[in-house]
Structure formats: C-alpha cells, structure tokens
Symmetry: C3
Subunit: 302 residues, 3 copies
C-alpha cells in the first residue's frame, strides 16, 4: 500500500517496511530539531476509555508540538452514553466536524478498527484490550535501533505476561519484520506454546535465556485483564524477576526495556535502574517523537 | 441593539436580523478560507454541566481555529462545589481573570442568562434545559439557507418532542424571523396546541404534512427530561418515524435535518441516511463555522 | 541561590529577596504589554488532586499566554492509580518525556516537594494540604505592593483559620520578608499562640485590631480540613465577620483581601464588596500575571 493512502494505524504489522523506515527517519528528524507546525489547523481528538498517563500525555505533546488543534474527550463527557447514540454515529459526527485524527484507547479488542470504518480521517490505536498498541511497539523498535543500528540477526527476549499484553503483540510483529529473533519467556499461562512459530521461540526459564540475548523486554503483569493469576506472585518473582543476579547473566552490552508502568519488586527490582543498558527513559523520550512521526505520516503522507 | 454592544448570546431570538445576516456571512467566509487568528490572546472557558460530545468538540474547535486560549472546566474540577462558593462568585472570578468568553451548558433553564449578569465578558448559551440552544438553531438555519437561498415562504416541519427540545425552541424563533412557515408535528404531550400562533401550525399526523413541506427537522425524544413517555414508543415509531415510505411522500428536493444525537429505529430508520436531502453532515460541519462566527461577532464586533 | 539554578517553587520563603523583586517586576511587565511566547515549545503538565477553579484556570491561562504546550491530567486519567505504579515513577516518566514544568496541587503536605526530587524540570506547588500555596502568596504581596509601594513598616492583619490555611502560611513568610508587621487574629483553635514570634503578633479580638492595620487579609474556614469546628459558626460570625460596622473601624485607605473562594455571610458580608479598599478582583487579575512571571523565571532564568 503506498504511504499516502494509509488512513489509520491499528496494528504495527499493517505497516509496510518502507513505512517503518519512513517513521523512524522522521522520528530522528523530529528529535534533532524543533519541528515545523506540520499539523497546523489539523484537528486531533483523543478519546481514552481506559486510564492513561504516559500514552495520553505523549500523544497530546506530539500533537501540540506539531501545532495541531487538540481536543480531549473523556467518556464521562460524551453525550452518546446518556443519549442513546452509538459510538459509530459519534465518530461519524466527528468526521463531519472536520476532525482529521482520532486517537482511541479502549478495553475492547478491535474497537479502534471498528471506529476506523466509520471515520473519514485517521484513526490511531492507542491500545485496544490485549490486542495491539502499535505506537508503543514502534517506540520500542526505535529504541533498540538507536543502540543496535539494525535488528537483523539480533535476539530479543520478551519476558512475562505476553498473552495479555497488547505491547508484546505489537512489538513481536515489528521485531520479526526487522528480522530479529524473538524468545518469549514465561509460564504457560502467560506464554502459550502456540506462540512458537517462525523466528519465535518459547522458553519457560529466564536464567537459561539471558546469556544469549541482545535485549530483554520486560512486561507488567496485566492484573486488570486477569481473573486468576496463572502463577503465584512469589513463584513469578523467583523465576522471572530481573534482579542483580540475573542482570549479571546478560551480555555486557545487552539492553533492558520496559513499556511502563513497572511494578518495582515484581517484574524487576531497583538494580535494573542502575544497569547501563536500562533504556526506559529513552523509550519514553522516543515515544513522543515516534508519535509525531506517525501523525505526520498519516496526515501529510510522504 | 448595535452589533458591537452585544455581550452575550442566550437565545436566538435575541439577535437582530442584521446580526443573523452578519453571522451567516462570516460563517461562509470561515468555510471558504483558513481563518485569521481573530481570537488570539482571547481566553475562552467552557463549562459543560451536562455531557456533550458534538457541541463541546465544536466549540473547542471553533475557539482553537480562531487562535483562542482555551480552558475546559468540568464540574468535578470546580472548587466552588466543595468550598461553598456560589457559581455567581466563581463567574465573577473568571471575569476578574480576564476571561473573555464563557460557554455554558446547564440542565437548569436560564442558568447561562443568570451567569451573564455577573460576567464582564461574553456568555454563550450552549444549551440550558429545555429552553434554548441558539448556536444549534443558527447552524440549522445556515444549513437550510445553503440549499434554499432564502427561507421566505418556505414551509419547515419540526417533528417530535418539541416541548422538551431546546433546539426546537431556538430554531422556531429563527425560522419565523426568516419568514418561513413552521409546522410542528407530534402527539399532544410533545406538541401542545398552544404552540400554534402566527406562522406556526400544529399537526398530529406526519403523513399528511410531508407532501407539502420543504424540509423536515427531526428531534430526538429527550428521555433525560421525561418522567413518563406521553406516547408508547411503538406508537411513536408507527406514527412519526421517518422511514422509506414516508420519505417517498416528500417533495423530491426536500431536506431532512437532525440536531443529533439520533436514535436509529426511533425517530428515523437507516433509509434516511441514503436520502439525497439528508443534511446531518452539513449541519455538523457548519456547526463549527457558525460558532466561529458567533464568537468572532461577540468578541470583535462588526 | 542564583536565579538561574532555581528549579522549583515549593514555598514562598524559598525565594531570595532578589527573586521576589524579579517576579514582581516581570508581573508588571506582563500586565503592561502582550507577552512574547517565552514558553513556546515548553511542555507544562498540570495535575490537580483537589478541585480547583481559580488556581487551575489561572495556571492554564498563564501557560497559554506564554505559548506553552499545556496538558491537564486529572487523577482519574492517571493510569498509575490502577496499574500499581508509584507517583514518583509517573513523574520520572513525565521528566523523560521532556515535560519542563509540573504544576501540582495535592491534599498531602510536602507532596509537591517529594515529586520535585524525582522530576528533572520545574515543580510549582499549587497548594499542598495546609502547608503552602506560594503563587497565591505572591499575588497577595503583589496586590498590596500595587497600593502601598513598599510593605516596610506596614501592619497587615490575617484573620481567621490561619492554622489550616496554606495561603496564610505562604503569605506570612512573604510579608515578613518584605518587612511588614503581621497580626494574626482568630480564636485559639485557628490561631495558636505559638505563631507569635519576631514581627508576628497574635490577637483574639478583631475589633481592637482593625483601627491600626493597613490591610486585612480574610481567610475562608477550611471546612474540608476540619474534623470539628473549634468555634461555633455563630460565635465566629459575631467576633470575626467583616461587616459594615467593622469596615468603619478601618483606616480610610485600608485594603481588604481574600484569596477566594469566599463564603458570603461567614467571614464577610456584602458590604465588603462596596468597600473602596476591597481588592479581590485585583488579586485574581494579578494571579495570572504573577504565575506567568514565576513560570518565566523558572524556565528562562534571569
């Protein structure tokens, strides 16, 4: 699909490899110099049906830095909920109003995709249930590329609750696209064996994996999506928490990433924050510029 | 009243005919070309005590497109509710802060008018109970004028819960001002006979009215303002829902409008969306530019 | 501490006397002419954990007038509350995102100070429990200075619930810094005797104090921070409410200030609004410009 006809970003694996390259190249440009107001007179509406600090703030800043007109709607503001209108009709209305970009987070999977069918402008998925979170995936890839230059032949471990993590689903697709090997590590309830296909391996024990990987991407346990824990938290901590001992098993130039928010003491302890390859701050920083690049690509094309 | 001394817009029938003309002429100008930032350094505060998607977003976009400084207050943010201050004193405070425009929606009728007494700047009524919603009325008139050029001698039907509809009340005043005939259609509980005065007729059966009118303005049943339904919903649907059969009774160039949000299956069915005279999208689009025109007129005068 | 290294504003007594002067001089400049966008491309995030109308709106307008990129987070939006992240880590994340200014109101004393330890940018305390509200203190001082030129040797009464008032605590520090005498007036439960030190006196009866003071600063009873009232409201009104009789005891050019929101009938009656020295509107007006000056000083230095 040629770049200028792309309307929405629902999942990372929708993007052509040339589009990935273009996004990363614009991300770098936006970080190097103060951007032109390339979204001036462009109306962006953000609707977050789930709480969010970092993704919400990050999209707002990306839009404001590009000079967009920004309106934030919260579900309690939205009249359709009390007046019987369907969300599809609300979205149709925003289209008619000339809103160019709709950023949506929703607990129901494929909800943003459904909205995109009714919306004339560009829908950006800011996280839908356990399905996808493409801009988080993009910022993770960009962060890895900043250190590694290329992901070809690298081996990246994703550790924890892959099953319920929209971040993991989005980044896996991207890592494979960029020809990285992927190792998913976690207990069966978090990493079903069926995930093993193509360049993706499944492992149960973290210690065995650490010496061979170039980067570890830690995941938060998605308690809000779990009815029961598939593993006792003490067991999880014992087998998967990244701590000083496990960090010492890594290659000296390995990276550690986390999409945030992290739960100190559960999937990591404070020794991670002193590890030279800890890249959380860079991920967050790149998050704003990657989102600027995505918005710019969708609205202005190539 | 000369234009430059008008302070607030509480109801559509406050506007002189020259002011109506001026608003419509600016609306057209704002749609033709990218507007100058005529509200630069002008502080606008929006307070919506009732949920709103389209009016809230529309006012925000109108303000941002004109370069205003925009602050949205939600009732839960407002300290007076917990600290014992009266809303009048809060409004006086916003005046002192240099806020130039206050856009207010409130479930209590005449609430914006009360606030205007305490506010040095301009109050725009964004809907007060069942009383008035002047900017919605203006956008409806503008939409009709785009097709008809003039409303003189036209006949416009307003169908449904006129009694509880602030939109109907505002648009009726405007239609009469522009010398259109008005037919109100609905059961007694929605359209009391007393509405019939001057150029306004009251009819009970929609089918008899459709062949003679130039436009039909549908209303939503305002469930949130009703304690009991004056008519069973099945009856309402049978007698008043605009569907394919009823559309066929209309003149071929008749228009159909709806202020939104609409309840599919109740006051209309999906055949309306395929009717060539369906103008909902145009209404929404004009809604932003009409509000820009109102704000510009209030703040900058003629 | 030299001005350009000041990072945050937690309490008014942190400020060097030269910084106070600089803030007041910029406040005056911002009121005289339309300001340059000195915060262009500067990201400001406002987090209000307590309801606020005037302080919230005032900070928003100050930021927008200086051209900042403004994001408002409300506690319900903030994912850390549901996802187990500490607020410190959230703040660290906002730092990483390039947020330059964090304006925080919180019911817990010293909360903004704690956040400032984790935040790379500038934290401005917008009120923390009963502890401090430095920008309110600054606008009070600025308002007094507009009338008096200097506060040296002036005598200012602060009347009411000093104990629970963050405003009183901030303004007392500032008045002493500018060499004004301070008289605290109220019952023991609101004005403990221990407040009397240096140039600060404690008095129990308002009538005796009024003839000698140059200004009266009234306080609201902070019901939301009181478990029991230390004095019956009728008694309070009888002994401390500023009314026509008490106003007549004041010097003819005395000033009356109130941080707002005020409770008519409790700490003041309507005769105060007609008193020539009533400065509430000026306080609110200066509130926006003082906050512009604080933000400009923190971000751009001297």
């Amino acid at each position: 699909m040629p770049l200028r006809t792309r309307r929405s970003l629902i999942d990372l694996d929708d993007l052509a490899i040339e589009e990935l390259d273009e996004i990363f190249s614009r991300t770098a440009a936006f970080e190097e110099r103060r951007p032109e107001p390339r979204l001036a007179h462009t109306a962006c509406v953000n609707i977050f049906f789930e709480p969010s600090t970092r993704t919400f703030t990050s999209f707002n800043l990306a839009q404001l830095r590009l000079g967009a007109d920004v309106v934030n709607l919260t579900p309690t503001d939205m009249s359709y909920l009390t007046k019987g209108e369907s969300i599809e009709d609300t979205v149709l209305t925003l289209s008619a109003m000339g809103v160019a970009v709709l950023v949506v987070r929703h607990p129901v999977e494929h909800y943003p995709e459904q909205l995109a069918k009714h919306f004339d402008g560009h829908v950006v998925n800011a996280g839908d249930g356990a399905h996808a979170h493409p801009t988080q995936g993009l910022l993770d890839l960009y962060t890895l590329l900043q250190d590694f230059g290329s992901l070809h032949g690298r081996c990246i471990a994703i550790v924890g609750d892959v099953l319920h993590s929209r971040v993991a689903h989005s980044v896996m697709a991207g890592l494979r696209r960029l020809e990285s090997d992927v190792v998913l590590v976690g207990p069966n309830g978090f990493v079903p064996s069926e995930y093993a296909t193509g360049g993706v391996r499944v492992e149960r024990e973290l210690d065995a994996v650490l010496p061979e990987v170039d980067a570890v991407m830690l995941l938060r346990i998605q308690r809000e999506r779990l009815t029961t824990m598939p593993i006792a938290q003490d067991d999880y901590v014992a087998r998967y928490r990244l701590d000083a001992r496990r960090l010492s098993l890594l290659k000296s130039d390995a990276l550690v990433l986390h999409p945030g928010p992290y739960n100190r003491g559960v999937e990591l302890d404070d020794s991670v924050f002193r590890f030279p390859g800890w890249r959380y701050r860079q991920q967050v920083l790149h998050g704003v510029s990657v989102r600027m690049a995505v918005l710019d690509l969708l609205v202005n094309g190539t």
